[in-house]
């Protein structure tokens, strides 16, 4: 079976690339203008002005390597439409501009395709049965990654370069799975310097590399063997990371602009929640606060005039005060995040379970940061969903968690595409992906019982109800004028339940295997 090769892979990759071309004219978000502005900044201004430029509201807030990436793109952009590189051309979107930007996303997705191929190589084909290609883990993983619904609508409709970035992440993970740790570390360092949101998962890398790479052996019971510390390896890792960071931040440190760059990268003036609440713990916290406030006013325990203006659910990004529950500051979120990921880090320190244990820890770091982070974007759920696909094709329990998390997470991305024209696209694509993931994973892990607990199935059916309400019933109802935020609130809160549940279940799988030491 393995001998007839991977001929299906180019077909999948070419198919999805052509498919992406169909959506060049679809809805674009403000992120399109953001990237066009960055093309203009990097092309028209000298390096010393890149992080000072603020004539447009979309200032450069990604690390320097990404700025260099945009600089490289701008040289190609010149051949499509030179006008897009002019700084004052705000919201410029001529057809060649749109074509160039969309094509740049599709082409840079090549990194993601490469990474998928590497990940598929790490996943074992089931030699036992003569199953058809469609039922083999590599094929299923390739579809789950290449045709991932969330990545597709965020990158190719909403507009971002996540495919390019996730390519680095997955490639790094694949390298670790293949025991090539220096390459994995190099790729992650590059990724961090492209988009610093991946700091969410840096602790997992740090602890894993220190524990499993710098300490070359473990003792018989899986514990640490202090004697096996390899200074050479530590130095190698350190130099790789420092080299990459040096290349990226070097010019700015020399120019003394490091504080300015950092202030752009970490703007804490923004609120606890994004304009649309990401389905995390703070969404539940906010909802609870609102409920308590409403109940308090009804029961005359609170005076309505004393409450801060209820603008949290409006579309603006500001700092807010909670009405009843204590307010949350950035440092509180940091503490909560660290507390949530500490058990996972401790677990792989004490008993490393090889690269797959590292992957699990990475997922928990991503989810923990998603749950408790400051100003989290709902798109960050993809950092958990994509790597989880690798575990889903290998383990039954992970497949169940994947189905719940991916369906919930993908649905939480629906509010990103709010135009009526895109409604059939997002519904059909979501159905396609969900149908495939459910059927393929069920067939792959066919054994006793279904992958999902009845309660989980009920939850997912409830998700369908929420979808029906938000997309169809609510726009046609009279409440649309008075409570415009209701669908967003409902989506956000309902999805947080699912995401929190998946977080806890994933933790359980890590801690459970902690108590049974196994060598991979």
């Amino acid at each position: 079976m393995a001998a007839d090769g991977w001929s299906w892979f180019p077909v999948l990759a070419a198919g999805v690339s052509l498919f992406k071309c169909l959506f060049i004219s679809s809805y674009r978000s403000t992120d399109f203008e953001v990237h066009r502005n960055w093309l203009a900044i990097t092309h028209s201004l000298p390096v010393s002005r890149w992080y000072h430029e603020n004539s447009s509201e979309w200032t450069l807030d990604y690390p320097p390597l990404f700025a260099w990436f945009e600089f490289g793109l701008s040289h190609v952009a010149r051949h499509f439409d030179g006008d897009m590189l002019l700084l004052h051309k705000q919201n410029y979107a001529s057809p060649p501009t749109v074509l160039f930007q969309r094509l740049s996303v599709i082409v840079t997705d090549g990194v993601f395709i490469l990474a998928t191929r590497e990940c598929c190589r790490c996943v074992q084909t089931q030699k036992a049965s003569q199953k058809a290609v469609l039922s083999q883990p590599p094929f299923i993983l390739a579809v789950l990654l290449l045709w991932n619904f969330g990545l597709f609508i965020v990158d190719h409709i909403h507009f971002q370069y996540n495919g390019f970035l996730f390519g680095f992440l997955l490639l790094s993970v694949a390298k670790h799975l293949q025991a090539q740790h220096l390459q994995g570390a190099l790729l992650f360092a590059v990724l961090l310097n492209l988009k610093h949101i991946y700091l969410y998962v840096a602790p997992a890398y740090g602890v894993y590399l220190l524990r499993s790479y710098c300490f070359t052996e473990s003792s018989t019971d899986g514990g640490i063997r202090w004697r096996s510390f390899s200074l050479l390896r530590l130095l190698a890792l350190g130099s790789v990371v420092m080299a990459v960071c040096g290349l990226s931040f070097g010019p700015f440190i020399v120019m003394g602009q490091l504080p300015q760059v950092l202030s752009r990268l970490f703007p804490f003036k923004r609120g606890l929640c994004h304009a649309y609440w990401a389905p995390n713990a703070w969404a539940l916290y906010n909802a609870l606060d609102k409920v308590l406030a409403t109940v308090g006013v009804r029961l005359k325990l609170l005076k309505e005039a004393e409450l801060p203006q209820a603008s949290m659910t409006g579309g603006l990004v500001q700092e807010f005060q909670h009405s009843v529950l204590p307010s949350v500051s950035p440092s509180v979120t940091l503490v909560c995040t660290l507390l949530s990921i500490l058990p996972a880090l401790a677990s792989i320190w004490r008993r490393p379970r090889g690269a797959r244990g590292f992957l699990r820890c990475l997922l928990l770091c991503a989810l923990g940061s998603f749950m408790f982070g400051w100003h989290v974007h709902e798109k960050a759920i993809l950092i958990a969903i994509l790597p989880l696909s690798i575990l889903a094709v290998e383990s039954r329990e992970d497949a169940g968690i994947f189905l719940l998390l991916s369906t919930t997470g993908h649905y939480s991305l629906f509010p990103l595409l709010f135009t009526p024209t895109e409604l059939p696209i997002k519904v059909c694509l979501m159905l396609m992906f969900s149908l495939f993931s459910f059927c393929a994973l069920r067939k792959l892990h066919s054994g006793d019982g279904s992958l999902l607990h009845p309660l989980e199935v009920a939850y997912l059916l409830g998700l369908g109800m929420v979808a029906l309400f938000s997309e169809v019933l609510f726009p046609l109802s009279p409440w649309k004028q008075r409570l415009p935020f209701l669908p967003l609130l409902a989506t956000s809160v309902y999805c947080s339940v699912g995401v929190s549940y998946s977080f806890l279940r994933l933790y359980a799988t890590l801690l459970r295997s902690d108590s049974k030491p196994k060598q991979h």
Binding site: S26, C428, L429, L431, M432, L435, C439
Partner: protein, 441 residues
Amino acid sequence: MQTWSLISICVLLGVVVRWGVSLNSYSGAGKPPMFGDYEAQRHWQEVTYNLPIREWYFNSTNNDLAYWGLDYPPLTAYHSWLCAYIANIINPEWVKLHKSRGYESPEHKLFMRTTVLVADLLLFIPAVVLYCLYLTDGSSKKKVSVLLCILLYPGIILIDYGHFQYNGVSLGLALWGILGLGLGWDALGSIAFSLALNYKQMELYHALPFFCYLLGKCFKAGLMGHGFFLFVRIAAAVVVTFALCWLPFLSDPVQALQVVRRIFPVARGLFEDKVANTWCSLNVLIKIRTLILVFTLLAVLPSSIRVLTRPTFWHFKLALVNSSLGFFLFSYQVHEKSILLAALPVCLLLNDLPFMSVWFLLASTFRYSECFFSLFFYISVAAMVGLSITSVTLDPPSHLPDLFPVLVSTTAYLLFLGTIIHFNILQFSGPPSKKSQKKSN
């Protein structure tokens, strides 16, 4: 994976691809005074909604036939009326008499594109799914592959969802007709095909094979016994269907005649645009009508007579291809979109003659879209690609401005000519293969 889930995924993919294409511009967008097919359809909604039936096909101050007058049979008019009824509920501006001429807006585009998708979901797509499930041989994987290929055939997607038309309705109804005949439900199949004919007169391309196949079946079943009753049943079904469709126009012979005059306008020119048609290639501008008729009949009669003598489903499908291709290549006044009528029966042959079918479908798309879907195998495909690329990237020499369209037409014509010869040979060669003998009913 289970068949139903694979089929659902294919259908969903087909729908998304269609909708993706529909995001782009339609025919005649932003081009006053005449605009294009999109405006024609909108205008028909305006006319059918605001005027009484007896005025639909006549020239009057309220209905200027020179501006996209109705030139399809009554079922199209009824469909337009239905769309207009819904349009009026959503926004009356869209179908206001006279005032809505040239109306363009993003909401209106969404509405119009939705009507095309709804029609496809109700008629074309279910017919394709049922055809692949019940009239295609092979494993379930093979059936799903055929389904995927037919649903993703670019020609019909580009014309219906890009340019803007409702070919999905007429082709869908024709496909229901073919389904009926394939499953042995001749009367129902005839009703479906009659409806297709009453939607677009272009379906006449398929009429001869239907007629010959059914007549052949009646002969075979014995004109003195079963065959006679079959004949009467089919004839009654067809007559009643036609009568019901034409009911409002039958009260007055002038009405009926006017409709006929509108749907068969012999006053128009020899060919529309630059069609891959014999006459275009020969660049003959003389109206040699009898010669045209002779050539057309020569092209289509042999296969139809063959199916009359051997009324099996296999021969029926081949005859559909030959007949529609023959009419496309040789008849009077052809629209380039008529190649779709040949593409549909070729799709049905995907399972039996995969290579030839795929090649033809590529060629037909090439003709329509001037590039996208080409594979690098065989000289003909290489030629198609070469021509496509040069016609898109290079400018033609100034003294030959129409060079590329004419070259494309000529190449496509030669390819289609080869196709019709090949399929005719197939129809007349040896006994049909074992598996298609099962299908004779």
